[in-house]
Each structure stands twice: as structure tokens, then as C-alpha cells.
């Protein structure tokens, strides 16, 4: 055993020595993201988006004359695993930056590692407010997605547009994201539609295979509308069980979902079983109906389809793509790859994305990005539901409130 250890050690040293020499002309980016388990549904397309951005940037000569190198690792959507991988990426692989993690379980944990090691860490899709609130913000953490306050406000603004709704029930996965997003929705609703009441909240676990009991409990309250934060496979399962139970008929399809189920990812899975008429959102609607598609978006989707060799692109790749682009712009602005300089350069920085400009707030290092929202409709050109006239929501967000 001891001999094996020695051999292993010798081998590690032998292999890592040439790598260290090589590190000079590449910028290494550690990328922990779920690539197995139920959340790989989103981890994979985010990674693909990031890889496409790296390829484009390297083809154009890299950043500051250096090539970008992505080091993807499977975080399994598990906080402990994400932390372990991040430490390993920093210590063993000498990465310059960390991008990635998917959920609000992993991101706050990795943020602590980034703080300890003074290394810039940007995360694409974690929405829980605790990631960047006053107690947890530090110079090295950046968040690309909107937070749950923005999502809850968007939901409340849309809900307020219904003229015949008095009672609402909510359903959300029982962990940080779901709890925060429902709390934000209820808070915003008091302001936007004080005449509406949330009469019941259901909390199935993340990955719940059977929603029947929850749906029956919701329906027993005879609500006028439903606010929902279920996403991915959970949303698909929920819909398949709620439709025959008559939930959508009972609420006349007055359901708003804040969990990015307006993308082709969920729509393709459900096909004709999608509850047409509900209001859903997406980081990127992918298929942009209504003729207002920005030309940059059109090009981005075409490139992405080619890069991933898929008939329809995913609505999540944009988060990986923009993350790499934003980091590259930050490095250029800083003029070097030191995390302290890049962090200063990115705070308050405005950058272009395929869906319009975004900027990192100076105070909390997040973009408060709106999401594209609209009614899910049938379209003769596609065998699945698409967002009708995707509109950025919310319209009335100010970081101070």
C-alpha cells in the first residue's frame, strides 16, 4: 500500500509539472455543475453554452492574448460535492476563476470557498436572496440570474392583471429557492394586488414523484388561480397528474409559473400535454414569437443549434454563454487575471447579451435581470407550446425595495 502511495505521488508530480509550465498562456476556469441526476437537465445545456462561448473567444484570439480553458466537473447538485470540487480545482488545478453550480443549495456553499481563496466565482442560475444579501456578499461572488425577489415581483405583477381572481394557492419545491420565491411573491402581491389572498401553500419535496395529494389539497380550497415555482421534471410530473384531476379546468388555466418552464426544454417533453394558456417565463425564450426578436438573439440561437447539433436549442445555454462572456469582458477591463482586479472591474460593469444589456450591481454583484414572460400558446410551426410575445418581467423593480 505504501509503495503504491509513493508511486501515485511520484506520478502526480510528474504529470502536474508540465501542466504548471503550460498554465502561463491559458486562463483556467473551474466549472462545477450538475452533470448527473435530475438537475443535469439544466447543467448540461449551461455547460454547452459556456463551451460555445469559450470556443468563440478562443477563435478570436482569446483574452489578453491568452486562451480560455474550461474545466467542467460534476457537482451532482450537492453542496458538499460542489465545495470539494471547487477546493480541488483551486488547489490542484490552479484555476484562475470559478464559474458554475446550478442550485441554491450549491452556490452559497461555493461562495464561501471563493471568499476564503479570494477567487472570483460567478453563478448562472441560483436565485435565493441569501447568496448576495448584506451578510453574505463579498468582493468575489457574482450572480447572473435574477434573485427570488425579482421572480416573485414578476409573478405578482402578472397575477394583478387578472380581473377575476380573489383567492390563490401556491405550490413550490421545499428548499431554499421554493421557500424564498413564494415569500417574495406573497410580499409583492400585497403591494400589487391587495384584494387577492394566498389561501394555501403546498410544499412537495424537490423531485416529488407523486403530486396527487398536493393537488387534491390545493383544489379543496377552490382557488381562482395558482402560483407555482415547480420546474424541470417536477413541473412535467405535476402537469401530467394535475390535468386529469381537473386542476387546470377548475382555475381556467390561470396559473403562473416562475421556474423557467416557458423554454422548449419542458415544452418539448410535454408536447400536446402542455397546459396551454398558463403564464410561464424563461431566461431565454429561444423561439421568439411576435417579430420582436433581437438580431443578436437570432444569431446566438442559430450558432447554438449548430454547436449542440440539436433541432431546438435549450433555454438554459444562454446562462453559460453569457457567464463566460461577462467574465472575459471583466478580465479585459481589468487588464490582468488577478481576481482582485477582475472583481473590481466587474462590479458595476455593463455587458451585452443576446437578450439585451445587463449590469452587475455595485452593491450586491447581481444583475436583477428580467425574465421573458408570456402566455404559453400553440403554434402551427412547432409541435410544442411557445411563449406568445415574450416580454421582460418585472417592469417595476428597484433594488432598494
Amino acid at each position: 500500500m505504501r509503495l503504491q502511495h509513493c508511486l501515485g505521488l511520484a506520478l502526480t508530480v510528474a504529470v502536474s509539472a508540465p501542466l504548471a509550465a503550460q498554465a502561463e498562456d491559458t486562463i483556467k476556469i473551474g466549472f462545477p455543475i450538475p452533470l448527473s441526476g435530475p438537475t443535469a437537465v439544466y447543467g448540461e445545456p449551461i455547460l454547452k453554452g459556456a463551451q460555445m462561448a469559450v470556443q468563440e473567444i478562443n477563435a478570436a484570439g482569446g483574452v489578453l492574448g491568452k486562451k480560455l480553458e474550461l474545466l467542467p466537473r460534476d457537482s451532482k447538485a450537492n453542496a458538499d460535492e460542489a465545495v470539494r470540487l471547487s477546493r480541488e480545482l483551486i488547489i490542484k488545478d490552479n484555476v484562475d476563476f470559478l464559474l458554475g453550480t446550478l442550485t441554491s443549495a450549491e452556490a452559497p456553499a461555493v461562495s464561501t470557498v471563493a471568499k476564503e481563496n479570494k477567487i472570483v466565482f460567478m453563478t448562472p442560475s441560483s436565485k435565493s436572496t441569501i447568496l448576495t444579501d448584506a451578510q453574505h456578499i463579498h468582493p468575489y461572488i457574482f450572480r447572473l440570474a435574477s434573485n427570488t425577489d425579482v421572480e416573485g415581483l414578476a409573478g405578482a405583477e402578472d397575477m394583478a392583471k387578472f380581473t377575476n381572481v380573489k383567492t390563490i394557492v401556491t405550490i413550490a419545491p421545499d428548499y431554499a429557492y421554493g421557500r424564498d420565491s413564494i415569500a417574495a411573491f406573497i410580499k409583492a402581491l400585497k403591494d400589487k394586488a391587495p384584494n387577492m389572498q394566498v389561501v394555501d401553500s403546498q410544499w412537495p419535496k424537490l423531485g416529488e414523484p407523486d403530486f396527487t395529494a398536493f393537488i387534491n389539497a390545493m383544489m379543496s380550497k377552490k382557488p381562482d388561480a395558482v402560483y407555482c415555482s415547480l420546474f424541470a421534471g417536477d413541473f412535467v410530473t405535476f402537469v401530467k397528474q394535475a390535468t386529469p384531476l381537473g386542476l387546470f379546468k377548475a382555475i381556467d388555466n390561470r396559473m403562473i409559473d416562475g421556474g423557467e418552464v416557458g423554454t422548449p426544454d419542458e415544452a418539448q417533453a410535454l408536447g400536446a400535454d402542455y397546459p396551454y394558456g398558463i403564464i410561464a417565463n424563461a431566461y431565454d425564450p429561444v423561439i421568439w414569437s411576435g417579430g420582436n426578436e433581437p438580431p443578436e438573439h437570432k444569431k446566438f440561437i442559430e450558432d447554438l443549434k449548430k454547436f449542440t447539433n440539436a433541432k431546438y436549442a435549450s433555454g438554459w445555454s444562454i446562462q453559460g454563454y453569457v457567464m463566460v462572456e461577462a467574465l472575459a469582458q471583466g478580465i479585459k477591463k481589468a487588464g490582468d487575471t488577478k481576481s482582485d482586479d477582475v472583481s473590481k472591474a466587474m462590479a458595476g460593469m455593463t455587458f451585452d447579451t443576446p437578450v439585451g444589456q445587463r449590469s452587475f450591481s455595485e452593491k450586491s454583484h447581481e444583475t436583477f435581470a428580467p425574465e421573458y414572460t408570456g402566455v404559453m400558446v400553440k403554434d402551427p410551426d412547432y409541435p410544442f407550446a411557445i411563449i406568445k410575445d415574450p416580454t421582460p418581467m418585472p417592469t417595476d423593480f428597484h433594488p432598494s425595495n
Partner: protein, 292 residues
């Protein structure tokens, strides 16, 4: 609280229960007879779901081919079970449980990656077969036809399984193999074939339940691990190796989950795990099991 609501909650619990029974019965059977804890049972269930989806694409993408696809999936998983039993499990009987656990856990990882390689990470979905879409009103509660179908199928399989085990020649051999393998061997019965048959049947049930779950659940990577935990809870409540124990364990699990969320709305899993803890303290061998 309206009676119709309580009834629909009861029926919902029953549907959950019968699905769990379909899955857990195979797990319990293999443990009861062969003393093998098969962690990969959930992986067989997952493969059943993916294969059913694949079958629907091949046979009839609009959902009419669902029954053919389900049968295909169940048989394919059964065949896989035969291969796994003949090639690998055979050399593990009678060995330390640790080896069985390690081996079946390795199977979980291998089959999980294989499914990811073959079908990718996107969530997939199968439509309800046309004949079972829609719902009926029973005592003022809306009951989806497909759920009713599962609720009837569960007891049928339970009764059929009991009949075969307790009233047939094959069943007598199987029970004999459970009691004393060596004696049965000495009497000239082919115990190897009995074991393979049981394992294939158990895999068939896992594949079938995976296929039948697709109209009401999404197919995602990781569904194997999620289900195996629930199946184990059911088997522990009912008693390892007891067929009827698994049946009643499933019913108790489904109903406790269904009514539990009315009492503790914020803690949907609390009631089920609390129940399991209590049963493990009072009767460690489960409600219908025998002390080992």
C-alpha cells in the same frame, strides 16, 4: 372538510400505494427468497421507463402504442435481469451482504450512466394512452381513469403473486428454496433455475412499473435513486420478504403521505419517516415480517 375531498385524498394515497407496491414487490420477493438486497432494482425501474418511451417512439408516437411499448420494456428489463443473474449474482449468493451491496451499487452507477449515454439528460414524457385519458366522478371526487387502472392492477398482481406462491407447484418449490436451499438441491430440484426465474420475474415487475409510471411522471436521470429509497421504506414497514407485508406497507405509506400533508402541510415527508422510525423501534422486522 368535505367528504368528497377526503375520498379523493384517500384515492390519491391508494394510487401512490399501488405504484410503490408494483416496484417494491419485486424487491421484497428477491430479498425474501434469495436473501439479496438488490439496490439496482430502482435502476431496472428507470430502464423500464426509458425503454417504454423508446418503444412509444418506435411503435406509435401519439400514445396508442403505449401498451406494446410497456410490454416490450418489461420483457427487455426481464431479459436484462436474466443476464445479470446468470453472469454476476450467481457468484454472490451466500457471500457477505457487503459484497452484494457493493455489486448492486456498482450496477446502479453503471446503468445510470448507460441511460444518460443512450437518452441524454433531457426530461422525457409519455402521453396517457387514449383509452385511459380523462376522469370519472366518484362520490363527488374527480378520479383520473389511469389512476383507477393502477389502483385495480396493484391488488390483481398482489393476489396473483400470492396465488402462485401459495397454491401452485412452482410456488411450493420457491417456498422450499427460501426455507432450505441445500436440502431442495439435494432432493434434485434445480435451484439455480428457480433463482433465475425469480430474479427475472422481479426485474420484469420493475420494468413494468417503470413503464406504467411514464404517463403520470416525467422520465429524468436520477429517478432510479429516488424510487429505491421509497421502495425500501415500504419494504421495511411491511417486513422484508413478506409479499402481503409489502402490499400493506405500500397502502400505509401512500395514505400516511396523502393525509400527512393535511396535518403537517409544511413537512410533507415528516409523517412517513416518523412512521418508519416508530415501526423500526416497536417491530424491527416490520409489520408482517418474522424476526430474523
Amino acid at each position: 372538510m368535505a367528504a368528497s375531498f377526503l375520498f379523493s385524498q384517500f384515492m390519491g394515497g391508494l394510487t401512490t400505494a399501488m405504484f410503490l407496491f408494483l416496484i417494491a414487490s419485486g424487491l421484497s420477493l428477491v430479498f425474501g427468497i434469495m436473501r439479496v438486497i438488490n439496490f439496482a432494482h430502482g435502476s431496472f425501474y428507470m430502464l423500464g421507463a426509458y425503454l417504454a418511451w423508446q418503444g412509444v417512439q418506435w411503435f406509435h408516437p401519439t400514445g396508442a402504442g403505449f401498451w406494446a411499448a410497456s410490454l416490450f420494456a418489461a420483457c427487455a428489463v426481464g431479459a436484462l435481469g436474466a443476464v445479470v443473474e446468470r453472469l454476476f449474482f450467481r457468484s454472490l449468493y451466500g457471500r457477505d451482504e457487503l459484497y452484494q451491496l457493493l455489486f448492486t451499487y456498482a450496477l446502479v452507477l453503471i446503468l445510470g450512466d448507460a441511460a444518460k449515454y443512450l437518452w441524454g439528460t433531457d426530461q422525457l414524457s409519455v402521453s396517457t394512452p387514449p383509452i385511459l385519458t380523462g376522469s370519472v366522478q366518484i362520490f363527488g371526487a374527480t378520479e383520473p381513469l389511469y389512476n383507477l387502472f393502477i389502483t385495480v392492477l396493484g391488488p390483481l398482481i398482489a393476489f396473483g403473486g400470492w396465488l402462485v406462491l401459495n397454491r401452485s407447484g412452482v410456488g411450493r418449490l420457491v417456498r422450499a428454496a427460501q426455507m432450505d436451499r441445500e436440502m431442495l438441491d439435494a432432493l434434485g430440484a434445480n435451484v439455480g433455475t428457480i433463482y433465475t426465474g425469480m430474479f427475472v420475474f422481479s426485474s420484469f415487475l420493475a420494468g413494468l412499473s417503470g413503464a406504467l409510471v411514464t404517463p403520470i411522471q416525467s422520465i429524468v436521470p436520477g429517478m432510479d435513486v429516488l424510487i429505491i429509497v421509497q421502495a425500501f421504506i415500504v419494504v421495511v414497514i411491511g417486513g422484508m420478504g413478506s409479499f402481503w407485508g409489502t402490499f400493506w406497507g405500500s397502502v400505509i405509506y401512500g395514505e400516511v403521505l396523502s393525509f400527512g400533508i393535511l396535518i403537517f402541510p409544511g413537512f410533507s415527508l415528516f409523517s412517513v419517516f416518523a412512521l418508519m422510525a416508530v415501526i423500526l423501534i416497536v417491530r424491527p422486522w416490520g409489520l408482517f415480517g418474522r424476526p430474523l
